[in-house]
Every structure is written in C-alpha cells, then in structure tokens.
Symmetry: C2
Subunit: 314 residues, 2 copies
C-alpha cells in the first residue's frame, strides 16, 4: 500500500481542490469579519472505537467527534485535514468504505477534506487524526470553559446515555427487544453525534460550553474547575430515552453510569436564562453556584458527587 | 496516565496561551496581508523513527518534519497542534524529555504549541500527529509541485544522504571511524532537519519546491509528474559529505541508494536561473526538460532512471 496511490485513488475525491493533495499543505482563506478556529482530535482503535467496527462508522464517528469540538466553540465547520495510519495490507475495500463514511458527513456539514497524510503500521492499529477548521464571527468569544458565572443556568442539548447503551448492546452486555431503539443506540455509539447547528445558534448567547465526550459529570466539572465555580444539577431534569428510563426502573443499569460514560456528544452549556430562553429544544438541568470552600463541586440531586471521573477508553 | 494531568503538567508549558489548553481548540489570528498555510504529518514508531530512540529526538524529528513541509511552501512557521498516543504506562520521564525536545525546536523557530490531544494505546506504539501553521505574504504562490517550467534549473539546498548514513550507523549496518562525522550523520537521522530560512528566501523566486522526505529521485519525480515535465540531474553536481564520497569510492555504499532514501529534508526546487542566482549556498544540479512521449522521466547522468521509488518505512 503506497502512500501515493492511496491518496490519489480515494482521498483526493473528498477534496474540492485537487491541487491541495499534490502539495504538502494548503492555504486556508479566512473570510472577512470571521475568525478561524482550529481543533484537533486523534481517535485510535480499541480506545475510541473497536478494531472491527465498520470502516464507514469509524470514519463518521471520527469526523463527528471533531465537528463536535467546533460545535462547542460555536464555530461553523469549513474543512479538515486527515492523517491516517492503517494496518499493513489493509484492503482497498476498507479504504473505499472509510471514504464513503467521510463523504456522508462532508455532505451533511458541507465541508471538504483539505489535505493530510497516510501511512501503514505493523501493529494492526487504526489511527485517525483529524484537524478541523471552522469560522465564526470576529466578535464571538468561543464560549470558553473558564467563563461560567454564578447564577448561570446549565443546559444540555439532548438525551444522555444513548452512546453508552449503544456500547453495551454492541458488546452483548445488554439485550433489547425494541428494535428501533436498539438501532438508534447502536448508531449513536458507532456513527457518533454532533450538534453544530445548535452550537452556532448559542455562540453569542452562552457564557461557556463543552461537548460531552467524557461524560456529563466530568465535562461539567471541566467547566466548573476552570471557571472556579460549582454546579448543581437534577437527574430528573436530564432528558433520557424512554427505553433507558425502563432500564433504570428495572435495575438493569445504574443511572449514574450514564453520566460517567462518553460518546454523548451533546452540548453542555451555561448562561443567562434571559439570553437563552428562546432557543428551542434545549433542557435546563441546573445552575452554576458559588464553590463552597473555594473548591469546585458537582451536586447531583443536592448530593455532592464524590467522583466525577468519566470515560477513558473502551 | 490520565489525559488531563498529562496535558497540564507538561504540554501546557509549551504554549504561550494557557487558555488554549483548557478548551478543545483555539483561534488562529491571521496577520493582515498574510495568508495562513497549513500542513499535517503523522509520524509513527518503526516507520519514521525507532521505538527506542530518545524521546527528545523523536519530538525534534517530528516537529522538524512538519516544519520542513512549511519550508517547501516558503511559509514562516507560527505554531502547531499536537496529537500524541503513547504506550500505556509511559513514564513521566519520557514525557518530560519529549517536551524538552519540542521546546528546543520551538525556541529555534519561535513557534508555540497551540493545542492538541493525547491518549494511550495498548500496542506499544508512539504516534505523533502534528498540524503546523505558518504565514506567508498574500502574494506568494506556495511554490506548488505542478509549477515547474521547461528550462528551469533544478537546485538543492544541501548534502544528500546524511540521514541515510545516519540510519545505517544507528542500525549497526555501517561503521565509521571519524567520530565527528559519525555524530553528524546520527544526529541528522535522529533529530531531523529543516530549511525554513531558505524556504522563506526563495518563496517569491522559485517556481516549484518540495522537501526531500522520500528521496531525491522520488521527490523530483513528484514535481515532474505534477508539472508534466521531466528532469535531468548530474550526480557529480549533488553535494555529498566527504565521508560519503569515501564510502562510495570504497564501494561500501551505492550512490543510487543515497537518492532513494528519505530523511534528507533539504529543499529541492526549480526556477529561473536569473531569479535564483543570488541565493547563497544552494546547488544547481540539473534542469527541467520537456517530457519525451509526454511521460515524465528522471535522467541521472544522461541515463533514464528506471525506478524512482523512495523511502517507505524503516
């Protein structure tokens, strides 16, 4: 598998400007009155996805994870660089399906592949490193993690735990009779999720935002620690899929586990109620409060959460 | 090794703006009358460096390889994103030495770490993915690979083969009595090389440029193929270290191997003699000619090179 055939046969189709693939890099033209925002995430097999997951899903999940980072900064995606390392002797079918997955997400978000790098490894690993570029209004502040304010309401953009349940089903650790729900959870785990439209909508309204990639509790803690505040949330206010509610009721899963697993990729943000009240389809789950003894804490249903640690690897 | 302690203890020291490390990404402000140029290269153990090479050298080589891509586009480096995957249980000493290596190159080129991502893998691999950013004059054309013109002279910026000889010494495939030369070759192989000052100097003068990362012949072929021309070069004009000349004379190495191995990271460029004649310390090694039968060829000492294939992995 030579680096060059590889690039030209498949990846070059994913870029508008073929010239970019001939050179080692390219220009990124920044529109007037916009600023360029960059983020970079590497996904590797057996940490972020399984080695034998469909190539199409690995590609989609990788790209959505990066898009989600831009969403959390209220930034409209423009394009991305991809560096990929594949096991020696990876067949062309894999590459073709992987590129199909990228194309699906590209079409959805109107973004292009801008360039990149490929190699093969002897360790049977799949390594996907993406650097994603987006633009946002020059005046926007990127909703930084250290900007939560006491009195801010805490919101999330959608259901928590769907990726976790998808993982359990995928690993045969949980069975589910409802086929539509099962498919939905599996798809969430395999193909990822990102909330870029909402991210852009709240860009000039929210104080602080993060995408939930490590778990609701840990990601809320990131905001709280960096802003030197604490957070108070209520489990009953956190939107859950009806099937997940049943699983909690029957004791098949522990609701706290839902908040400690990654793969949600919903937005968690806080800000002034007045500014955010007209945003549709978001869920107010709590508020930012002063830290007792100057140490950031998360309170869930009025109880201090002892350990907010979230997702580390599969 | 948690992702977060890891970032904060070591990598955050490498960035001017600590805020960048709290969030998932950052803004890259583009100066007026400049354009932003981006390149991305991933280096992995046992392809681009050896698993047991000093962490400091792995870091330096990785960053220089990326700097070299900017050099070939005549672009002044500004900063970089780093995504790194390390074997589980990598000790802090490794990380500390790795960061020292990055700092050394940062100081040399006045660049900063802007952000990134870390994880650990179970395959004992070291994976370094860098996305590098630079600025160049709005009017510069990035010396693209498809812009070589018939009649252009072909130049290189320095000695060829030093990385290859360093590799042979490193692998005990070659012994060398001259200690200073030995050290020089080993250092070239382990710590990398990049020619950014020269890249910037020729940015508005050369037609086409590439950094020699796959081997002189293959990289010249990249330019020729993309420009639909052929190249004619002379081995006697290619600058070689005196020790390498001796090795060729004694038959210990084949001079063609020097031109088929990567790790040179000198610039190979072509352009109008009139525009380039006042650039110091460059070597004219041949010229761009019309392609016979419309198929790009490289002629070395008037003979057609049958196979230009260069470096693929260690």
């Amino acid at each position: 598998m030579s680096e060059f055939d590889f690039i030209f046969n498949h990846f070059a189709k994913l870029g508008k400007n073929q010239q970019n693939f001939l050179n080692d890099g390219c220009e990124i033209p920044v529109p007037e009155n916009q600023k360029l925002v960059v983020s970079k995430d590497m996904l590797i097999s057996d940490v972020h996805f399984f080695r034998n997951d469909p190539p199409n899903s690995i590609a989609q999940k990788s790209l959505r994870k990066n898009l989600s980072d831009l969403a959390a900064m209220g930034t409209k995606p423009y394009g991305y660089f991809l560096a990929i390392s594949l096991p020696q002797n990876t067949n062309e079918n894999f590459i073709s399906q992987f590129c199909d997955g990228l194309q699906t997400v590209q079409n959805q978000y109107k973004i292009d592949l801008l360039g990149g790098d490929t190699n093969s490894n002897k360790n049977n690993m799949i390594i996907v490193s993406i650097t994603i570029f987006g633009f946002t209004n020059k005046n926007n502040h990127l909703m930084p993690r250290n900007n939560a304010k006491i009195g801010d309401r805490i919101y999330i953009s959608g259901e928590i735990g769907n990726g976790y349940i998808g993982y359990l089903i995928h690993q045969n650790k949980l069975s589910m009779k409802n086929n539509a729900a099962k498919k939905n959870f599996l798809s969430h785990f395999l193909y990822g999720n990102c909330r870029n439209d909402l991210g852009e909508e709240i860009a000039d309204k929210a104080d602080s935002c993060i995408d939930i990639s490590d778990g609701l509790l840990q990601d809320l803690m990131h905001i709280c620690k960096n802003s030197n505040v604490s957070g108070k949330i209520y489990s009953e206010k956190i939107p859950l899929h009806p099937e997940i509610k049943s699983l909690i009721n029957t004791g098949e899963i522990n609701f706290l586990d839902l908040f400690k697993w990654g793969d949600d990729y919903e937005l968690l943000f806080c800000g002034d109620d007045e500014k955010l009240k007209n945003i549709g389809n978001i869920f107010e789950i709590g508020e930012i409060i002063e830290s007792p003894e100057n140490k950031s804490q998360i309170y869930l249903d009025e109880e201090k959460v002892k350990n907010c640690k979230g997702f580390e690897h599969l």
